[in-house]
Amino acid sequence: MSENTATAGNMMSAGVSGNSLSRALKSTAHSSTQFFVGLFALLFIWWAGIYIVTLNPDLANFNDFSPAETFKAYPEVWEAGIIQAAMSSSGARLGWGLGLAIAIGVPIGIIFGRVQWFSNLFNVPFQFMRMISPLSWEPIAVVVFTGWEEAIIFLIAIAAVWPIVFSTAAGLAKVDPNWFKVARNLGAKPWHMVTRIIIPAIMFDVVTGIRLALGVAWIVIIPAEFLGVTSGFGYAIQDARESLEYSQLMAYVVTIGAVGYVLDTICVLLIKRYSWHRG
């Protein structure tokens, strides 16, 4: 039996590695093509939209929103350090808000998914809270917190916590109770159940929740920065609008999209890293 198994194994691994390399190359080439075609399509729609609008001489000022003007504005705002400063401020707020949401959301999600009475008791309140627009907390947040900074972080955290709670709980529901039985049988201590079984088992769902939370948080942070603070992308947009620097405003909008895309891609890579589910 061992010889057969070994031969089959060798043949399998040789065949699989050859095929999978060529499949992977083809797939990468295909997705890169799609990426660039999609990006050019977006640029074209943007350019065409502005071109059509500016055919009307009364709307010629809209030319400042065009791709060409936007990319011309980039060196200016980059050299002035506005983009870097906005990235740093918004990034720090996002980091704090998301970090808080993870620190609160993951343990609550674990309890929610594992303790039946807790989930029965808090399902309705959590669903109710989830449906409240995070920005509607703003007036309360500015009263409760001493500074705008804390208020914005609170708004991000309250927006991001719900996807993390529900996704973690959904992950827990999929954990096979037999994994605990086997682990106990092999001498696992209670903390092993958490570190070796629960966390790896639900990591995929937690990161999926973080990805959703990041999307919500990145959306919330811009309007939250419109008021009170003097830094970040929300402030930069507001400032550019008031000084009629529309090409700069568009440069910030494009950067917001690009940063959001990069952060989302990092989450997708993490999801792939922690995914153990098979189709």
């Binding site: 039996m1 061992s2 198994t5 070994a6 194994g9 060798n10 691994s13 096979d176 037999n178 994994w179 039985k181 086997v182 682990a183 106990r184 049988n185 092999l186 001498g187 696992a188 201590k189 092993h192 070796r196 079984i197 790896p200 088992a201 990591m203 922690y274 153990w276 589910h277 098979r278």
Partner: protein, 261 residues
């Protein structure tokens, strides 16, 4: 890998669930010498799986005790490891990681874990799949990983709860032979619970038959056959027929009433 067997001594073991009128089994006594492969056979509901779970320390008996080389079983331990009907592998771990998981619980060093895991994987003949994702393996290979995961703990006793019942006939036959061969080579005890007479004949040195309600050990038979055992061997067939007759006889067993007078 150095493993030795243990003397298993079951003394007056009873199990009664509060929700049921009758005990599952009542005052069961059994002794198995070190290195013995013991099969417990019986129909569903006679309490054989419950007995195995108590042996593993996963469930507690309501009365009596179990001694392994004189030490009472009070809970699960890596010294006595159970293999379940399904392998229940951790799908986020490779074959190697699954096999070594028990050793990481016991905080073994990386080098020692690597050595023992490699040996256990070699023992179940999965060397070519050591780094494979367990989800890519067949049912038989997955059960081999579960076997290696148990063997790596160097248990004194391996408890098997119908571990091959979900596998196809060919894989089942191969694993039955391999588990027996490994246990004989390393010297640990096997206690296998099954309702498959063939499995008992191929794997065990002795078969005990549980029957009745409450369950009791009503017969026992030495399976005195040379290794390796082949189903088509007339001696195996003869013993199988004998065990089957005893098993059927046991099906009509009624526990004698004990007079308190």
């Amino acid at each position: 890998m150095s493993v030795r067997g243990t003397e298993i001594r079951i003394e007056g073991l009873s199990q009664k669930y509060p929700t049921r009128k009758q005990p599952t089994f009542n005052r069961v006594d059994l002794v198995s010498p070190p290195g013995e492969a013991l099969a417990i056979i019986g129909r569903s509901g006679c309490g054989k799986s419950t007995l195995l779970h108590i042996l593993a320390g996963i469930t507690k008996g309501t009365e009596g005790r179990i001694l392994l080389n004189g030490t009472e079983v009070t809970g699960p331990s890596p010294r006595w490891v159970m293999m379940f009907q399904a392998p229940h592998l951790y799908p986020w771990m490779t074959v190697t990681e699954n096999v070594g998981v028990g050793l990481t619980f016991a905080r073994w060093g990386k080098k020692e874990i690597a050595e023992r895991v490699a040996e256990a994987i070699r023992l179940v003949e999965l060397q070519d799949f050591a780094q494979a994702n367990v989800q890519d393996l067949s049912g038989g290979q997955q059960q081999r990983v579960a076997l290696a995961r148990s063997l790596v703990m160097e248990p004194e006793m391996l408890l098997l709860d119908e571990p091959f019942s979900a596998l196809d006939a060919f894989t089942r036959a191969a694993l039955q032979k391999d588990v027996r061969a490994i246990s004989k080579r390393l010297g640990f005890n096997i206690v296998i619970v099954t309702h498959d007479i063939d499995e008992a004949v191929i794997m065990a040195d002795r078969a005990v038959i549980m029957a009745g309600s409450p369950g009791d050990i009503v017969h026992e038979m030495d399976v005195d056959l040379p290794d390796p055992r082949d189903r088509t061997d007339p001696e195996v067939q003869k013993l199988r027929a004998k065990l089957m007759a005893t098993f059927q006889e046991a099906a009509n067993y009624k526990k004698p009433e004990v007079s308190l007078a």
